[in-house]
Amino acid sequence: MIKTALKYSLFVCLGIFIGVLSALWMSGLVGGHRPKLAATVVVDNWTADWAIGAKGATPYMRAFVARYGLLALPKTEAVYFVRTVDDDGDALVSSCDYRVSGEAQMAKWWSITLYNDKGYLAASEGDAYSIDQTGLGDGSWSAEVSAKEGLNKSSLLSSKNVDRFELLLRIYKPDAELLEFPHKNLRPPSILRLSCQSEAP
């Protein structure tokens, strides 16, 4: 009798362990997995999810956002596009310099911020954390991503002291047309790799 009860308890404990672990994994909270989201929007490798901040998001999405985008705004206020690769599809790394260029967005205001691969501002000299519409104007623009010092701050994103990094495009008060037809109306900035440091001998 006791042996049977112990066996059942073991099954229950194992089930609880698997249940908890699978929930955390499917939410992207362990194991580096990002949940597959129904409302994902991808334009030229800039990836957003319209469900961020929405009450109707799936439980997996809500758990993921609670951990990685706490206090995020819903899409009517702001949309967030992340990019982790250059125009050739290679990962963004601090050993390379890039030129980011684009046009004004269909929105009230936009900015691009450089974060490390954990989502935090990277160590940067001169506080060159982001570029934005205020500094770059309402027309076509270009800026440089580099770990070098002494570049023009208003058109520089510093990648100093990080390894891999991501760029986050924030678009505040997006026009309804952009939300409805993002593939047509987003003006995705390009990220051209200029040069890379040679490997150490």
């Binding site: 099954f11 194992l14 698997i18 699978s22 758990a63 009230k108 990277a122 986050l168 924030r170 505040y172």
Partner: protein, 177 residues
């Protein structure tokens, strides 16, 4: 029969643990965030303007260095709370996040959006009526009121510092006697 019972218990345990974990994650994370903000000196019922987001001051993932954040922690256990944000010439918003991370109320603080109120009464009483302000009903007592104002330069941040003194977050009984 014993094998069937064991398998059934195993499956039920997986499903139950999976669902309960998923449902509790936002609540647990929000509770931890509120506690962490409290430890950093953010009191209840008072907007506090955070320092500009930098490498040294960032506490939340993907904080924007272009925005000035004012945060108020509230607790509806003792009654409704009145929250109000001063208008700003540029992007600005007031967002109320409940205890499970949902944005239950958003108001523009952009002076260009003159028709939208920057004030709200927060309550857990679904029969509460206010003739003066919008009302947001929350299911849990604790939450965060967050004001964002676009301030990408030091000069603009200093203007926010002055303006933010007009922001209100306090028990309704204290502001509407």
């Amino acid at each position: 029969m014993k094998k069937l019972i064991a398998i059934s218990l195993f499956v039920v345990a997986i499903i139950t643990a999976h669902v309960l974990t998923l449902r509790s994650v936002p609540s647990v994370i929000m509770t931890k965030a509120i506690a962490a903000m409290g430890k950093r000196g953010i009191p209840e019922y008072k907007f506090v303007l955070s320092e500009p987001v930098t490498l040294e001051t960032q506490t939340i993932v993907r904080s924007s260095p272009d925005l000035a954040y004012s945060i108020c922690l509230f607790d509806l256990s003792n009654g409704p709370v009145f929250v109000s944000g001063a208008k700003w010439h540029g992007y600005g918003s007031l967002t109320i996040f409940d205890g499970v991370t949902d944005a239950v109320y958003i108001a523009s603080l952009d002076a260009a959006d003159t028709n939208i109120s920057g004030s709200v009464v927060l309550t857990m009483d679904d029969k509460f009526i206010s003739k003066e302000h919008p009302v947001a009903i929350l299911n849990k007592p604790k939450g965060i009121a967050l004001i964002r104002r676009l301030a990408p330069s030091t000069a603009l941040f200093e203007r926010v510092q002055t303006l933010s003194e007009l922001d209100l977050c306090s028990p309704l009984s204290a502001t509407h006697k």
